[in-house]
């Protein structure tokens, strides 16, 4: 009798727990749903009380006028180009440096590595003003290089790749060396293929950071067709008094969706990448 009661009580507790978790998930998804639904509403429905979660007469007009009135397709391509080249170049330079720190012994190595970690303490905001002035002098305003270059060699990336490269046995590199492989070829043909999981994780982290980056592109990109998609969304808000939510959310859907898909595809590696800093660092 008593046992049964205890079981019932535990069952009740469990249901409460699941209810709590489901509510939490709902709260997490709700702002996203709200954004998606508003993207398909006409203007009169957006500014209407009571608001609706499911559009009464769903329409693509927001998307159409977004592409008509703004070079948003170009903006999405810009984001894709900037984010993928930033990710690819950072991966290359970070793993090259990490290879050197993990597999060579040279004087000053430990000091240089410590110095490198120390640079993470400098907030990049200090460089906003001077870099802007510098870019103006060398005419990098409104150019993509200005977005790609500063993040290219990244202390976190080097640290992350170095941890992974410690796992590669030295014997493998030695046998390649005996076969007459040059250092750079060893890096390209042995090290990089073996680091694929780490490269995936770091690549996605870099890609997302660049895709979602707002402040720096906001400062240095000027003309409509050079903007990245995230900054273009802000540029849609051009009137002084009201916010064109229809256009903004149509743009937002197009910005958010690719990243959600990317995340779901490589979730495991991505989360492993994010947590590595907390455990080892």
């Amino acid at each position: 009798m008593n046992l049964k009661k205890g079981k019932k009580k535990r069952c009740f507790k469990k249901i409460l727990l699941y209810l709590f978790l489901i509510l939490l998930v709902a709260a997490m998804v709700f702002p996203l749903l709200w954004m998606f639904s508003a993207a398909f509403k006409v203007k009169s429905e957006i500014f209407h009380f009571p608001p609706t979660l499911i559009p009464k007469n769903p329409t693509f007009s927001n998307f159409l006028s977004l592409f008509e009135r703004f070079p948003f397709g170009r903006n999405l391509l810009n984001s894709a180009f900037v984010a993928s080249s930033a990710a690819a170049l950072s991966l290359f330079f970070c793993s090259l440096a990490a290879f050197s720190f993990a597999k060579y012994r040279f004087s000053g190595r430990d000091f240089l590595f410590l110095f490198l970690l120390g640079t993470m303490l400098i907030p990049y905001h200090v460089t906003l003003i001077p870099l802007f002035i510098f870019y103006r002098r060398i005419q990098w305003i409104d150019k993509f290089w200005g977005l790609i270059f500063p993040g290219m060699a990244n202390a976190f990336g080097i640290f992350f790749m170095r941890q992974y490269m410690f796992l590669i046995p030295d014997e493998l590199l030695d046998s390649a060396r005996i076969d007459g492989c040059s250092d750079f070829r060893i890096f390209l043909q042995i090290i990089l293929p073996m680091c694929r999981p780490a490269l995936t994780a770091l690549g996605v982290i870099f890609f997302m950071a660049s895709w979602n980056n707002f402040l720096w592109p906001l400062i240095i990109l000027k003309s409509d067709k050079m903007l990245t998609a995230v900054v273009a969304i802000r540029r849609l808000q051009s009137g002084p008094l009201w916010t064109p939510y229809g256009l903004i959310f149509a743009g937002s859907v197009l910005v958010v969706l690719p990243l959600i898909i990317l995340f779901l595809a490589v979730q495991k590696e991505f989360i492993a990448g994010i947590t590595s800093g907390a455990i080892k660092g």
Binding site: K14, L21, L24, M28, P31, L32, W34, A38, I46, H48, F49, F93, L96, A97, S100, Y104, F106, R109, L121, I122, P123, Y124, H125, V126, T127, I129, P130, L131, I133, F149, P150, M152, A153, D170, D174, R177, D183, M208, F214, L215, I219, V230, I233, R234, Q237, G239, T243, Y245, I248, F249, S252, V253, V255, V256, L259, I260, L262, F263, I274, I279
Partner: protein, 310 residues
């Protein structure tokens, strides 16, 4: 004898080569240091120089000594206001979010909850969405006349609230937005830490008659303490470098956010306004430097605090 031969063989060819002054490792690490010098070190030094000058970007630069700094600290100076805002926001969300993330992580780590993976994915999802997009969504949710939040409240007979017009409420909205976005991220960090706690500890505690709450307080919390500090450290940096959220959340039309009455002004927003709206590069650099010092001290404090423990 055989052992000795083995010992020599074990010494990697790779590592032996270095003693002959190999240049290759330096070549491989040089891109980082060159890029660091160009895009980090020089700008940081130049920023220091600028913070003692007045310059609007075109005319001559004039030396003004410490006046950029003193202006920021004087009565009307907005720097103190922005730091106070961020401190308030920090205390509004960091304790709740950190504890919440830890509790969630322990729940989703326990074997008797199913579909853990699904819950984790959904709770983490906000982290991968673009802040700008989601901030607009929050702005619209909180809209006084057309927002969903006020509709919910009206079901309980509560009058419409102008969320983003009151300083206190606007800050709370900002805190909720930050919590929404970062809860899953912190949870994932804790989940990774919990993997290292052997389950036998919990079993032993259970046999000794400990309640789940006691296990949580006396086993989980002490063992994930380093991660708690790490999370708080990240949140500190994140809070004092807030920009995107206040810039969009409290903006109307083409104005930049930070309102009402500067209640959500953050140091970076102040820097942006000074530098890129009013073209006062000197003052903006002073803001950047003060923030740099604050964050640097936080960083050192953290290293000392954590480094000593490990």
């Amino acid at each position: 004898m055989a052992k000795q031969v083995q010992g020599i063989e074990k010494e990697s060819l790779f590592k032996r080569k270095k003693r002959r002054g190999n240049k290759i490792p330096y070549l491989f690490i040089s891109p980082f240091f060159i890029l660091f010098a160009i895009f980090m070190l020089c700008p940081t030094l130049y920023s220091f120089y600028l913070s003692f000058h007045e310059w609007n970007g075109v005319g001559p630069t004039t030396y003004v000594g410490l006046s950029n700094y003193t202006k920021l600290f004087s009565g009307g100076g907005l720097f103190l206001k922005s730091m106070t805002n961020c401190t308030i926001i920090f205390f509004e969300y960091v304790p709740i979010m950190t504890l919440g993330a830890l509790i969630l992580a322990s729940l989703l780590n326990s074997r008797y909850i199913r579909l853990q993976g699904v819950f984790r994915t959904f709770i983490f999802l906000p982290y991968v969405t673009a802040i700008i997009a989601i901030t607009y969504s929050f702005q619209y949710l909180l809209d006084t006349n057309y927002g969903m939040i006020n509709l919910f409240l009206s079901w309980f007979g509560i009058e419409r609230i102008a969320w983003l017009n009151s300083p206190t409420l606007a800050r709370i909205c900002l805190s909720s937005l930050i919590t929404w976005r970062w809860l899953g991220y912190n949870m994932v960090l804790f989940l990774a830490g919990l993997q290292f706690i052997p389950p036998e500890l919990y079993e032993a505690a259970k046999i000794d008659g400990a309640t789940p709450l006691q296990s949580f307080l006396h086993i989980t919390i002490p063992l994930v303490k380093p991660i708690i500090f790490f999370c708080i450290f990240l949140s500190t940096i994140g809070t004092f470098s807030l920009f995107d959220e206040p810039f969009i959340l409290t903006s109307i039309g083409t104005s930049t956010g930070g309102g009402p009455v500067n209640a959500t002004l953050s140091p970076i927003l102040l820097l942006y306004n000074m530098g890129f709206r009013y073209l006062r590069f000197g003052t903006a650099s002073a803001v950047a430097y003060l923030l740099f010092v604050v964050l640097f001290l936080c960083g050192l404090f953290e290293i000392k605090f954590l480094g000593g423990k490990r």
